[in-house]
């Protein structure tokens, strides 16, 4: 039986935020991910699930053009952001600024809470303290962290608890005013309560930004993602409406097995 290649769901006419076509990523001679063709629509939460080493993190790195900092990493195929080829944008730093990234383990930069969130505006050249104050408060509020840290903005970010640090990195990503927010297994080092809080934050953010949610918890994808892609062993097995994947309307048996927890 021949299975149709994974394609973006075409039932809606929504504008495409991120277009991926024929993506292939390799490190040296070793291919980490290939054959990825999909679209991410504006203002959706796009889930990516799959076991370890499926190529999920590499996928995010390619979108953010991090191959520029790793001479081993090679990206082929096309990725468009707002219709522009990310390989050809003149200002790749400007591209990265519009894409916020949250890592599996919170990377609290060795700066105060305030400076962590103010870093991105400062990189853009913002010096006005009042302006920065506004941005810092707004981002910390949106990340549901403001109430907990408003009295100690001067303490080091690394002095916060793990869950607070992860929300701090979300606030930092938001301070970029991103159009696209990419989260890579954000709940790995976070307790369940904080995970739920962050999930609520993401549901709110969906109104304003597009979100790519790489997750190791399939149920998290089910709770949040509008559509979900399943990566396995360096390939994109399929892309579909999340609810379809979870109710068994899949094109590939392996997707059902993974979603049902039969391997992975």
């Amino acid at each position: 039986m021949v299975i149709a290649p994974p394609q973006g769901v075409t039932t809606t006419e929504r504008p495409v935020k991120l277009g991926v076509a024929g993506l292939r990523i390799r490190y040296g001679e070793q291919t980490a991910l290939e054959g990825v063709t999909l679209d991410v629509y504006e203002h959706e939460i796009f889930g990516v699930i799959g076991p370890a080493n499926a190529g999920k993190t590499s996928f995010l790195k390619a979108i953010n053009r991090m191959d520029m900092f790793n001479t081993d990493m090679h990206v082929e195929g096309q990725i468009t952001f707002n219709g522009l080829d990310t390989r050809k944008v003149r200002n790749v730093y400007g591209l990265r600024r519009r894409i916020g990234v949250v890592f599996p383990l919170p990377v609290g930069l060795p700066l105060s809470v305030y400076d962590n969130v103010a870093l991105s505006p400062r990189l853009r050249g913002e010096k006005n303290r009042a302006e920065l104050d506004v941005i810092v408060e707004r981002c910390l509020r949106r990340a549901a962290l403001w109430d907990e840290v408003k009295d100690r903005l001067d303490t080091l970010g690394s002095m916060l608890s793990g869950g607070q640090q992860q929300r701090l990195t979300i606030a930092r990503a938001l301070s970029q005013d991103p159009e696209l927010l990419m989260l890579d297994e954000f709940s790995i080092a976070v307790d369940p309560v904080t995970t739920m809080r962050i999930e609520d934050v993401l549901k709110e953010l969906r109104q304003e930004v597009t979100i790519i949610l790489v997750t190791n918890l399939v149920q998290q994808a089910r709770r949040l993602a509008d559509r979900t892609a399943f990566f396995l062993d360096g390939r994109c097995v399929e892309v579909g409406v999340t609810e379809d994947l979870f109710t068994g309307e899949v094109q590939d048996q392996r997707t059902r097995d993974y979603v049902d927890g039969r391997f992975g």
Partner: protein, 289 residues
Amino acid sequence: MFEATQLNRRNETTQKLFRLALGGMTGILILPVILILGTLIWKGAPVISFEFLFTGPTKGMTAGGIFPALLGTILLVLVALLASVPLGVAAAIYLSEYAPNNWFTRAINLAIINLAGVPSIVHALFGVGAFVIFFKFGTSILAASLTLAIMTLPVVIVATRESLQAVPEAFREACWNMGATRWQTIRRVVLPNAVTGILTGVILEVSRTAGETAPIMFTGAAFFLPLLPQSVFDQTMALSLHLFVVSTQVPNMPEQLPYGVALVLISLVLLMNSLSIALRMYLRGKKKW
């Protein structure tokens, strides 16, 4: 059921033996240090006085103090620091943060390691050729300090590179992901977290050159000068050379005096070392991750 078997007992004996042997070796190691310091203090301390530290030599250097030499050594090290730190730190930043990992970079790294192994007398001759003659600085503080600077460049580079590489890669990646350029990342995140390590490492390494004699002997240090240097283009006296002179070159030298000079020299180096170690410990306590 917990009785020791023969094998247990044998292991126990071996372990005790080795412990004794290794401890003994360590004891032998520190013996010379204790002997040297002990002799210096024993014989040199009586000479040390305010006059000794803050007046110049008199009576053909057989009496009086060592102030011009002490000042000279401090000057030489300071100017050497001023020259080697910016250059060495810049090179280390390039090598650690920018340079691609290819054969050329590896060749440079190899060259730096080898440069650290070049004998100081060779540096001295290079200093004469380059700074005294070619750049026409003459025998001067400047020429001597630059020679010292070239000599310390490899260790400055290595110390700086180690401090830079101690900053976790995740910080850089987080910063790049936000759209920061390499330089913005270095300036905002890497350097602020490496600077204390760089400073203390560099002071530690460069202060060791206070004891060097060969590199300054032909490039700027003089046996005896009646006047203090007025600018970096003057020659200067220096503790290390002065020690050499008073121990071997001057007849009728009071026995204690060279010990006094040596004690001051070694104290100066130890003082700078302990300062930078103290600074390092203090700052490490405040480390931010």
